[in-house]
Amino acid sequence: MSNEITFTIDGKECTGKKGQTIVEAAKENGVYIPVLCHYDGLKPAGTCRICTVRVGGRNMAACTTPVAQNMVVQSNIPEIEDMRKAIVEMLFVEGNHMCPTCEKSGNCELQALGYRYTMLAPRFPYLWPVREVDASAPRIYIDTNRCIQCLRCVRGVTAKDGKHIFGLVRRGDRTAISVDPELAAKMTDDQAQKAMDLCPVGALLKKEVGFAVPMGKRKFDSKPIGSEIEGN
């Protein structure tokens, strides 16, 4: 029995495998669907909703929805694209994002999506929340002003016995990423680096290293986000 699935995204014939999500299958077919919380190899979380697509008239997150035979996916349509842009704007106003002073500038996926969606100023008024900064762990610096709560760190960096180093606390608009202080204190250099690499923004930084790659020579400085998939 064949595991191959055929489906379309915005009319383009695509093939995928049973069990793949729309985001994964789209990528293999050269179709870029924007993501923030998704990270290859991590269990999907569906927190950011920027990968929302329309299937059969219903909106669903492409990172958590499996592809199905003959599925008709609408992705790059004005209505969806505008709502994706709105998500980027919501993230900018719900946190405190000061790109010019951020170590992640140029490597930041949120910033890169801001450029992709030609966001000049967010349509929503800034909320200017008071957010916590935690520099108590020896190897990692946590600035929740920049956190978009994608949960990549929660999913991707755990202690040896599988315990969560990172986790969500509180609820509603007070929800935040926090750490188990003892487990955070025991993080290795490799774990700190991994956390920083997973973090799409500048909320998690490895201590004692800064601007190792100068601005102007960073990931999105020369090529816009998505170009690695779209190939232009």
Partner: protein
């Protein structure tokens, strides 16, 4: 109060070190120590051998857990819109004056704490509060004076109740002042039947035949979403798994609903029988009643009902005399979170975690509680299934409308003379209901609670059913003297408070919507603001992950549709743009600090 480590140890031991019982452990520690301190969190993490941040995540998720001391007497005063209509402001002021602190704090050397809380399921007898688990209804400023005096004197909370409510509220195991307010008994739920007869009949049938009967009845989920119950049971029966669960969702948190409270008080045997019927039908031996924390005052009573059912042989091994069929039910308490009414969030919570909904697929019928096939149904759904088994699916489907069969329990509150419970056949018009509850002067009716639809007079001829105006049961009558936007604002505050925080559009979007609404309410809105407000509602509805965010803009969205003139009267038509920025408010703190008056130029 004892030592934190000992309190934790005692509770962890009581639950066999089972991390899925985390909510119970936290509740015990909170009761013993008055709060769940950093030290308590550390101890729980150590003794359950889980990460500290996971414990902190759960403690800080639920409204009734607190890292700060809540007082020997913790007063949780309902802040639902109907509580406000019924005089909550004066009651809250009286509490603050008598106790000597603002809401959100404690006074009297930490003896008494005052806290707001989302709808506690007492909308028919507001203003109401929960003090150490005991419900106090129809509060007045005078009554508050007495209550605070009693608390200052150190009286037992149970002894502060002066009058008992009706029916089983007077039962020795409840002894509550809550009233049932059953205004109308219909032919399904409130028509008496012989207890145990439905389960006896069910076990004489093939399980699939039971499911077929439910399918034939077209019974739809009574929590509000309306998913066909028979189909859900069928999916779960067909799912592979060596263990299956039946969960009853008794976490009615939609502001304005209180019907399940009355079923749990007056018809608990029928509910448990319905769960057993479902257990037989899907091939499950274990049921869980997930009871909202606000209804914890019913727990001992319900436990006793379960014990009696075991003694009678309705539950337990060879239940209802059926060889090889075992079924028992346990009760799990929530801890204050509206979102746990969403079935997958409820399952997470029952597993001792934060009550955030799961991504679907997989659906609970395949992967539910503890990863096993699970059905989650509403209290009223299980009760209805009892009558369907007894009387047949055809009998049931003769009642109602084309797509909504049977009867529905409505919780009616607000500006009407006869608030309470109405069992009505689906298809009743709003107008007829308003006549029955004596709310004829209504200018608006909130159908289905804040997440539903706010309709005006021109829609009063519409029908209550899934095909037209759907409701999980909440009906709030709004009279001509109310400021509808104040009601809408109350609902938006509710959603901001109750969003689980998982996804961006719901977490940030509801705050943004509430702020924009406030701008218009404060007379600083323009036509552009109103247009944006409506557009932004659609962003939150379309992009949110679960039903909460998909419906949370409805208070604004449906009132703009149905009462646009109210918004238009509040905006400044001659201006194109008014800034959100408030210079006077922005310099208020620094001016106060410097002892100067702000020098503000007209801008």
């Amino acid at each position: 109060m004892g030592n934190v480590a000992d309190a934790v140890k005692k509770s962890v031991k009581k639950y066999g070190g089972d991390a899925t019982q985390l909510l119970d452990v936290i509740r015990d520690v909170q009761a013993a120590m008055g709060c769940v301190s950093e030290e308590a969190i550390l101890q729980i993490a150590k003794q359950l051998d889980v990460s500290r941040v996971d414990i902190e995540g759960v403690v800080t998720f639920y409204h009734f857990f607190s890292k700060q001391p809540v007082g020997n007497y913790a007063v949780y005063l309902n802040n639902s819109a109907v509580a406000t209509m019924k005089g909550r402001a004066a009651v809250a002021r009286a509490f603050e004056q008598e106790v000597g602190c603002r809401f959100g704090g404690t006074a009297e050397g930490g003896n008494i704490g005052l806290f707001d809380t989302s709808c506690i399921g007492m909308n028919d007898q507001e203003p109401a509060a929960i003090i150490n688990g005991v419900i106090f209804t129809q509060l007045t400023p005078e009554r508050v004076k007495d209550l605070v005096a009693d608390m200052k004197a150190g009286r037992d909370v149970k002894d502060m109740i002066k009058t008992m409510g009706d029916g089983q509220n007077q039962n020795d195991l409840i002894r509550s002042m809550v009233n049932n307010n059953i205004q109308k008994k219909g032919q399904v739920l409130f028509d008496p039947y012989e207890a145990g007869s439905a389960l006896k009949k069910a076990v004489s049938m093939e399980p699939v035949a039971v499911i077929d009967e439910i399918k034939k009845s077209n019974l739809r989920g009574r929590g509000g979403a309306g998913f066909p119950a028979g189909m859900k049971w069928g999916f779960c029966r067909d799912a592979t798994g060596n263990k299956k669960y039946v969960i009853c969702n008794a976490d009615e948190g939609e502001p304005g609903t209180f019907k399940d409270r009355v079923i749990l008080t007056e018809l608990p045997g029928m509910l448990f029988e319905g769960m057993a019927v479902a257990g037989y039908a899907i091939g499950s031996d274990e049921g869980i009643l997930y009871l909202r924390a606000e209804y914890a005052y019913l727990k001992n009573y319900l436990e006793n009902i379960l014990e009696n059912l075991r003694k009678k042989g309705t539950l337990g091994k060879n239940a209802a005399g059926k060889k090889g069929f075992s079924f028992d039910i346990k009760i799990k308490l929530g801890a204050g979170a509206y979102v746990c009414g969403e079935e997958s969030a409820l399952i997470e919570s029952a597993e001792g975690k934060r009550g955030a909904p799961r991504n679907r697929p997989p659906f609970p019928a395949q992967y539910g509680y503890m990863g096993k096939p699970t059905i989650v149904n509403n209290v009223e759904t299980f009760c209805s299934s009892v009558k369907i088994v007894l009387e047949g699916g055809d009998w049931y489907s003769k009642m109602g409308t084309a797509q909504s069969k049977g009867t529905k329990l409505l919780s009616v509150s607000g500006d009407c003379k006869k608030p309470g419970i109405y069992e009505v056949e689906f298809g009743m018009t709003i107008q007829t209901l308003l006549e029955e509850c004596d709310g004829r002067q209504a200018v608006a009716v909130q159908v289905g609670g804040p997440s539903g639809n706010c309709v005006g007079k021109r829609d009063f001829g519409r029908r209550i059913c899934y095909d037209d105006l759907a409701t999980g049961g909440s009906i709030i009558v709004i009279g001509p003297e109310r400021d509808l936007l104040e009601v809408v604002h109350n609902f938006m505050e509710f959603f901001v408070e109750e969003s689980c925080g998982w996804c961006v559009p719901c977490r940030a979007g509801n705050v943004i919507l509430k702020n924009k609404l406030e701008k218009i309410m404060h007379g600083k809105g323009t036509a552009a603001d109103l247009k944006e407000l409506e557009e932004w509602c659609l962003i939150v509805k379309n992009m949110s992950r679960c039903g909460l965010g998909q419906t949370s803009p409805n208070p604004i969205y449906t009132t703009i549709k149905n009462f646009r003139e109210i918004y238009e009267a509040r905006i400044q038509k001659d201006k194109d743009y008014i800034t959100e920025f408030d210079l006077a408010a922005s310099v208020k703190d620094s001016c106060a600090f410097a002892g100067r008056k702000p020098h503000l130029e007209e801008h």
